[in-house]
Structure formats: structure tokens, C-alpha cells
Symmetry: C2
Subunit: 144 residues, 2 copies
């Protein structure tokens, strides 16, 4: 099998499609992002990318993340406390619940809320370009 090669080709294609120059470092980072099912920050992504492509520098991770963001390939989140965290745009749009005790991130989506946002903005003469909705929450204790 050639699964590693497969992934490389997939990432290469994705970069090409987004009009981004293809380099070893970018393939590695995009691969890591595609595999991640959490919301890692730049340093964490650097750690993971180094396992695939040891030469990647942190500077390049930051640069590439910006490039990928501009290309619409990843989303950058600035949750409260600490640095930015990233995820691919492969999945559908969603917002986040942040567990204030554990730091856990849960994703959710509500068409109703999005629709209300559009209505509110429109009424004030604005179009929503993008939005940020974060619910900082605490687990409801189970009644036992």
C-alpha cells in the first residue's frame, strides 16, 4: 500500500486547488491539520508536523497557517486565554461550546441562530462576513 503517498497527493491537490505553492512543509502541515479532530494551536501543530517533516520551523508553521487561512483552507479561532487555535474547513460550519472547567471544546450548529444574526445585521444596514459565537459553559451536574 502507499497510504503515505496517497495522503501527500491529496494534500498536494488541495494546495494546488487553493492556488497555494506546494512545498514539503505545507504538505506536512496540511496533513496534520486534516488528521486533527481537535483544535490545536501553532506550537502543537509544529510538534505534530515535525514528526512527518522534521525540518519544519515554527516560523513556517505560522506563515503557512496564515497562507492556508487566506486560501480558505483553515479557520483560525481566538478562544479566551492563550493563542490562536486552528481547524480545517473540511467540515461544515459550526460554533463552539468551551467548557470553562476542563477547556474541552464541543461543536454545535444552529441555523436558527445564524438566521437571526443575518436579520439583526441587515436591520442595522450590515452584511455578516463572518461571525464568532462561543458559549463558555459549565457541565450541568448529573442528578444521582
Amino acid at each position: 500500500m502507499s497510504s503515505e503517498t496517497d495522503k501527500t497527493e491529496k494534500m498536494t491537490a488541495a494546495l494546488r486547488k487553493a492556488g497555494i505553492r506546494v512545498t514539503r512543509q505545507r504538505i506536512a502541515l496540511l496533513g496534520v491539520l486534516a488528521d486533527a479532530d481537535d483544535h490545536p494551536d501553532a506550537v502543537e501543530l509544529h510538534e505534530r508536523a515535525k514528526l512527518v517533516e522534521p525540518s519544519v520551523s515554527l516560523a513556517t508553521v505560522y506563515r503557512t497557517l496564515s497562507v492556508l487561512e487566506e486560501g480558505g483552507v483553515v479557520h483560525r479561532h481566538a478562544f479566551e486565554g492563550g493563542g490562536a487555535r486552528f481547524e480545517t474547513t473540511q467540515e461544515d460550519h459550526h460554533d463552539h461550546i468551551l467548557d470553562v472547567d476542563t477547556g474541552e471544546v464541543i461543536e454545535f450548529q444552529s441555523d436558527k441562530i445564524e438566521q437571526l444574526q443575518d436579520e439583526i445585521a441587515r436591520a442595522l444596514g450590515y452584511d455578516v462576513v463572518h461571525h464568532k459565537l462561543e458559549l463558555y459553559c459549565r457541565k450541568i451536574p448529573k442528578p444521582d
Copy 2:
């Protein structure tokens, strides 16, 4: 008239009520915050506070903002790009529209959205402690 004295006394009372020790610097900063109808950052607040109380240092501005936040007297906002921005909690709760072209901040409030947020969180086993809803928008061009 003794309007400056009046304000000082008002600010002093507000600090006392919040259980915060009263100093010249804190009175000055809180006064500036109370007067602000925008969402200034720490450096901007420092500039304004220096006009009232020239001795205030930037370090104290940061320290005091944290103290005031803990005391529930001000809110800290982390809008995209740049540092934190502040406003007093005198007004009712509201969320923000950010004009992506001008940086302008518009406030709005929607009980409906807040209610939906609670419902969504509850369904996932969470209570909302606080939330952040920011609509990054662009002005709809007037048809002329």
C-alpha cells in the same frame, strides 16, 4: 460648580461598593471608562487617564483593568486583531457588530438568540456561564 469633585465622589463610591481599594489612579481610570462611549484599549485608556491623573502608569492601567473586571465593573473584549478592549458594565448586556472595513463597533441585543443559546447548551448538558457573539460585518451599500 464642583463637577470634577462630584465625579470623583461617584467613582469613589463605585469602587467602595465593588470592594476595591480607592486610589487616585483607580478613580481616574474608572472616570475615563465611565465617560467612554466607545471600546478603548489599554493604551488608549492610559492616554485618557493621564490627562486626569498624569502619574498613572500603563502597568497600573492593566492592573486596574483586571481588578475592575474581577469586581464586575468592566467587561473585557477580545475582538479580532489587536489587544483587548474595555467598557463599563453600566449598560445592559449586549453583543457586538464589528465593521470589518472601519473597525467601528455597534452594539445590539437579542433575547431570542440568548434564549436559543441556553437551549442549545442545555441540550448538550451545559449551563452558559458567559458567551461571546461577534458579527464581523460590511456595510450594505446604499442604493443611490
